[in-house]
Amino acid sequence: MDDPQRMDRRQAVKWMLAASATVSILQLPTLGGGPARSGYGTDPNLLEVYKPGDFWPLTFSKEQRRSVAALCDVILPADERSPSATGLKVPDFIDEWISAPYPRQQADAKVVLPGLEWLDAEAARRFHAPFADLSEAQKNKICDDLCSVQKAGRGFERAAQFFAKFRELAMGGFYSTPEGMKDIQYLGNVPLAKFDGPPPEVVAYLKLP
């Protein structure tokens, strides 16, 4: 439980809720929408410090965490502009996300968990080892077959959907960290005295009137 590599639970929950809150203004109405499911209790109080498992249990087993970490870093490796996904503790984010009892997160869990199982089975079938123990080339070989929903070959359709969902969550976690925001140059969420609209270089670039 006290793994120093793991993120503070409160941080992970805040991160998850922040990332889900910023999905898009446009999608907001549908987020909380739909018919009421049977209750999931009260939402966490973000002013309190929680320990892991305090209000909903986490999901990933040790083995699953290894697969998740390995897949995260295949998808988002370190490069000159930003660290790797595990460097930003994205696996913690995904664990928190799929463990949350809300309808959207539960639907995602139903894609991610069987997908991880499939991933290790596929790694064993092809290379006789769990995904996390494969070489980079071996991992890439598997991911090459999964990384496009449109181009996925026969028998890989569901796996490709898992990959797309996993990538969406990994990217959502990654790019909602300060490092991720810096990487894609999100410059907002800093207080300003006034909002001036696009600066001259943007006006020029877009040939705005």
Partner: protein
Amino acid sequence: MGPYDFKPRSRDGLGIDWPYTYDDLAPYYDKVEALIGVFGSNEGLENTPNSPPGILLSPPRPRAYELLIKNASAKLQVPVIPSHLAILTQALDAKKVSALLHPNDPRAAGTLTDAMRNRLPCIWATPCGRGCAIRANYQSTTVHLPPALASGNLDIVTDAMVREVIVAPNGKATGVHYIDKKTGQEVQARARVVVLAASGCESARILLNSKSGLFPDGLANSSGKVGRYLMDTVGSDLSGQIPALEGCPAYNEDGVSGMHLYTPWWLYQQQLSGKLDFPRGYHIEIGGGREMPGVGTFEDLDDLTGGGYGKKLKEDARRYYGSFVGFSGRGEMIPNEDSYCEVDPDKKDAWGIPVLRFHFKWSRHEEKQAAHMQKTFAEIIDAMGGKVLGKPQLDGKKAIAPGGSIIHEVGTTSMGADPKQSVLNQYCQAWDVKNLFVTDGGPFVSNADKNPTLTIMANAWRSCEYLLGAMKKGEL
């Protein structure tokens, strides 16, 4: 809402007319806008009323992608104008507004002035939807409740789940019966007048659950109309990717949490002359650009790049971030006989109170409108030189969001001029119980494309003025 929106049946034969006109409500719209602080501009467009001079705050400057949308829309004769949002772009003139709202009551004006001075203008950061600590964004918890509490005339009882309105043998309401959610205890609150504002549907639920020998079908329900004419807003979305935005220099594009520009419904004349196959309009909400990233920001990448991972994916994220735009149509639903709520005969909530069950049906009017949204959005994206993400859904049945998902449920305690056809009179006073009022979205008999909150507040204000007058005259 505009003049047409209050008299839809008189105008095109469909739906239900409100028992009053736009002109009756206009002064209250102005007062609400002055009180809560709304930015926007007066454009003089059809059925999109101006506010009097000095009411609206200055609108924020448009973002880059919004200007691109505006340019492209102009080619299609689609207007794009500053949005109206209840966010302070400048400090309120607390003294002036308070004097305007309470001309003959210096004490009330003083209390309101103090409360208004606690609101600061927007700092162009932090998402409004998560609460605004500086009170720039209008919320009842930070804007209405502090001065009301300061007046000394308000008690707030929280965690109180109302089961029913209590009625005396003489047929008058005498209070409500509620369950204290913290202790589970049954409590009664006594009152001279009962005003329900539990939100559309929930107020209907309370009335339907208030059964007695005097009112066997639920309270205020002699018309049988409680629960009827449930409406939501028609919704349909489409996104696009705009190559022109790729590589654009980065800048802080947050602005307020929400659109700076939008499109009000613009085809009234075409509808009037029968050129469209649906009778009512929609407005377009826009989004996109360099908004705060989160889950979903890159969900359309697959569509664009054919998938991928690794260092290339990171390059793709840098390339495409900020180049997406989104369009949301929000349109009018006409009330129909198939959309209503009623008390579920079996199910109860955690406090043993019977819940509602819902019946909902879009008609072809709404479905065709949703298809028109999709076609329009695709045309705008095309005019921007962009690529539609996914495919425009031209089958209205599939394009329309399920009822309830836009969360604009109104109706179910309709107001009207005829006690046999409506639950409430034009002052939201129950026809059957004269000291009972409903002032949420329930009284609506049309649900124009305009978002309902401002009309709920203006209508509530008008009703409360009537209520106060009646109390002073000793009628209540």
